[in-house]
Symmetry: C2
């Protein structure tokens, strides 16, 4: 039913006066307030969605156990891990290792179900696992895009910008890691500049480097300066993304980094990376079986490196277009896999990380938004704890987009709201309003509305629900055009969070020393 | 993580040859096959999502019961309905009626939990209620929009086009009703042209008129010709949307139409129409209390008109921007209300209708898609049975958009897939594939992939997951531009479904007779 004109006019009559500038100022102030008041993470009250009946999940786990037992996994160029598996009782045959599911389930009993991931600002420390949800921005793109400049290689300036935008976004609870690849910096040193940017321009938590064991070590050494050695040994303060070389392989680069973090008692997000049809079977249940097998081995490996070390089960799973061979996002099949992964994580008692606003689109058009919204909502309803790629993702992850970043971050505010408890008390039940208004009246001016309207709804600053005539008069802007102005304003209005000057200096010295210890390398 | 170039190249290597024309022809054929094979409705295997704990729902129902008892509802200019309430035991005071919840719950016991809504093609008859899901296109817009023509008033030609597009869309299970307002036809006769278009250009079910009791009667008389009087008296063959004049009022226009349908044993979708903050309180729990009260009264009223008549609980509920007064869509608050409505319907044992791809955007941009996707997915997960406005909606329902219609209809195919059972059997578990591929291999060419890839994923024809370079070379089209070509092709390739010539003549005569019985009226 369309909104009738008379109703619309009546509703618009309530618009409070004061002119556009005053409204803008109010909104800017509201944004600052909203960020300051925003919780460090979401304490979700959402029921977790069980897409698969338990008996189907049993079959998936049994199939995973069969894969572990009969096929096994390979550990490439890593004698140390193979020796640990042998000692634990696995069947080792060269680099191939076969496992009893029961042995692995026994080893992973020491994985903490829930832990705190500390930020340098204690108010920004987050809980990982249980009913907590933590949103992180996109990770990994070599390109950036903006409405003004189009698509180009990312630089460290872009990285700084996205650090600042993340800091300013109330529903991004953590900085993430490689916000974009600073391709203007040497490959072997850029991790230091990324870490510095995370520490300086935001006070939220961040992810460390995994591209080489020594870069992982740099990351750990840096947080030891920031938090102190003892604190780091006893608390989770940094995390990192370790992708499995699916199917069924861990390579030495990844296990090398994993060892550094695990032995420092820092949690890695160990993520099977499955594009169904290429690195996994084309079927949902087959993909889930593989993820179960790879995840169980990854978690157990962490415990072999250091018993009791915190751990996060990860997933990056989507499907391929079997027509074109391109990866697809926001599809029904990837939703099913995502729902299944969350259920597997609950069975295993692991905190679970997944991927949010994914899409294949080159621009922030309807495709980007359909796919991102479906993917995000699936993640929330599924009951995931750590949601990567919540903001900015375009083009299968090749591009970090400025406008999509702020749009996705705003969607995240709404999702945070959905996931947070809605009270059912006398005020929320609006008992007094019905008595006041009665049949045929309207609630616009009633006392209950006046008392509640400011907190009743999330008001997106990017959504245009105005009349067609007004929208036309204002230039027929689409949502991306509206976001462009916001990006500019946010970066202009950005102010650095306070930072202990001594720690800051120590970190700068550490980075300078590390940089001077090696020649630049561009490969 | 971005897709590495080497993986991408490797994957793309599997693209099958044959040139673009051949691929297009294959796709066209696939579309026809898909439509022919598509089920009449979705037999959903999705668990229904219970957002509110039972004790919260208890409070909402208790608050609804209090509203019914203490405040009551009004029936404007309808002595007959008031007399029926009096006879049933309600407390009547002028046009105000107050109710015992228990009395209403007793009356609604005869509402069927599930029934068949017949189409003129029996293969297109749908189940309403239980685990069934039925998608309908948008209802009501006075305007249409297309990429080529922009926004303009809708005509009967547009209506015919949307009848054809609905017929051609495999995941639109029912024609809906006022696909757009044919504003070029007299107000008092256009319902006849709309009914004719539904019957002739599609073989799926349709909704009748409600704008006046005599137009409702025309709708019922027409289906009596189509199905036979006895069949209509015993079976549901047409439905209609009855909006409650929320808060807490039924007016004579709506009860007049409701009587016609109910007494003909045809189901109405009785929908509280609540923009929270105007026609209901600003709070979620308050809005749900009101919907509970209005829905219970609506359902009972139908049973007073004809005991045992089929009925569908409806909802159209969203929130207002308290800044601008404009209605908002796809918001967290409207998702919460929607989840709650579905739970209330399950308590009451009523089939439940809700609203799908809603948005406030003027064009099919990211805003439109974010809002539509969230709204649709909420509907599916909530466990709704009848999902109106699944395709085409823009601008708060003022506009039916050609491109968004086909894009939304394609999204509906993916949602249908999500809601349909996924097997967990030996083939789906891909047991053979793991043995064949092993660690570090890939699944692209393996026998299991070859045997399953054609049915493994829904391939959207509008999604572009190709490389940036290819997308650029093809003109940097956004999703809407890609859809524009599709609309044109669908309308060109459209062929009328077969239709009994005798019935067709009878219906044409009936319409001609009705039209000649009254002068044109434009108000």
């Amino acid at each position: 039913m369309s909104i009738t004109e008379s109703t619309e006019t009546e509703i618009r009559g309530t618009r409070r006066g004061g002119g556009r500038d005053a409204r803008r100022a109010m909104r800017a102030q509201a944004a600052v307030d909203s960020r300051k008041q925003s919780p460090a993470f979401i304490k979700s009250t959402l029921p977790k969605y069980n897409f698969f009946p338990e008996e189907q999940l049993d079959k998936i786990c049994a199939n995973g156990a069969r894969i572990l037992k009969e096929i096994g996994l390979e550990f490439h160029e890593d004698e140390e891990s193979i020796a640990l598996w042998k000692k634990a009782g696995a069947a080792v045959d060269g680099q191939r290792v076969r496992f009893d599911e029961s042995m692995l389930l026994d080893i992973v009993k020491t994985v903490p179900r829930e832990f705190t991931l500390h930020a340098r600002n204690p108010k920004r420390s987050v809980t990982i696992g249980g009913d907590a949800i933590v949103f992180l921005p996109t990770y990994g793109p070599p390109f950036v895009r903006s409405l003004a400049e189009g698509r180009r290689y990312a630089t460290i300036e872009d990285f700084k910008n996205f650090s600042k935008l993340t800091y300013l976004s109330p529903a991004l609870h953590h900085n993430g890691g490689t916000l974009c690849e600073p391709t203007d910096l040497p490959v072997n040193k850029r991790h230091l500049d990324m870490l510095y940017s995370h520490v300086r321009y935001s006070d939220k938590g961040f992810l460390g480097s995994v591209t080489a064991p020594e870069r992982a070590q740099d990351s750990v050494d840096l947080v030891r300066i920031l938090f102190g050695e003892k604190f780091v040994d006893e608390n989770a303060v940094i995390s990192a993304i370790i992708n499995v070389n699916s199917p069924l392989v861990f390579d030495a680069t990844m296990t090398g980094a994993l060892k550094v973090y695990a032995r420092a008692n820092q949690p890695c997000i160990v993520s099977p990376f499955v594009l169904s049809g290429a690195m996994g079977p084309v079927t949902v249940a087959g993909t889930l079986s593989q993820i179960y097998a790879e995840s169980l081995v990854g978690a157990a490996l962490v415990q072999l490196y250091r018993k009791g070390a915190p751990h996060i089960m990860g997933t990056f799973a989507t499907s391929l277009s079997m027509q074109s061979g391109a990866p697809c996002f926001g599809t029904a099949e990837s939703s099913m896999v995502q729902f299944g992964c969350s259920q597997l994580a609950r069975r295993l008692g692991f905190p679970i990380r997944s991927s949010g606003a994914l899409c294949g689109s080159k621009i922030t058009d309807a495709q980007a938004a359909y796919e991102s919204a479906i993917s995000m909502q699936t993640n929330i309803i599924a009951g995931n704890n750590v949601i990567m790629h919540t903001a900015g993702w375009l083009e299968g992850g090749l591009v970090m987009d400025y406008e999509k970043f702020v749009l996705d971050a705003d969607q995240a505010v709404a999702f945070a709201r959905l996931a947070s408890s809605v009270a059912v008390d006398e005020n929320q039940l609006a008992c007094s309003a019905f008595s006041e208004v009665g049949p045929g009246g309207h609630f616009l001016g009633c006392a209950h509305t006046q008392a509640n309207f400011e907190t009743a709804f999330h008001n997106s600053p990017f959504v245009d629900n105005e009349s067609f005539e007004r929208w036309k008069a204002e230039g027929e802007l689409d949502m991306v055009a509206r976001a462009a102005g916001k990006v500019k304003r946010m970066l202009e209005e950005y102010e650095e969070p306070s930072f202990d000057e001594g720690k800051h200096e120590e970190i700068k010295e550490f980075i300078a020393k590390r940089k001077s210890s090696m020649p630049d390398s561009w490969i």
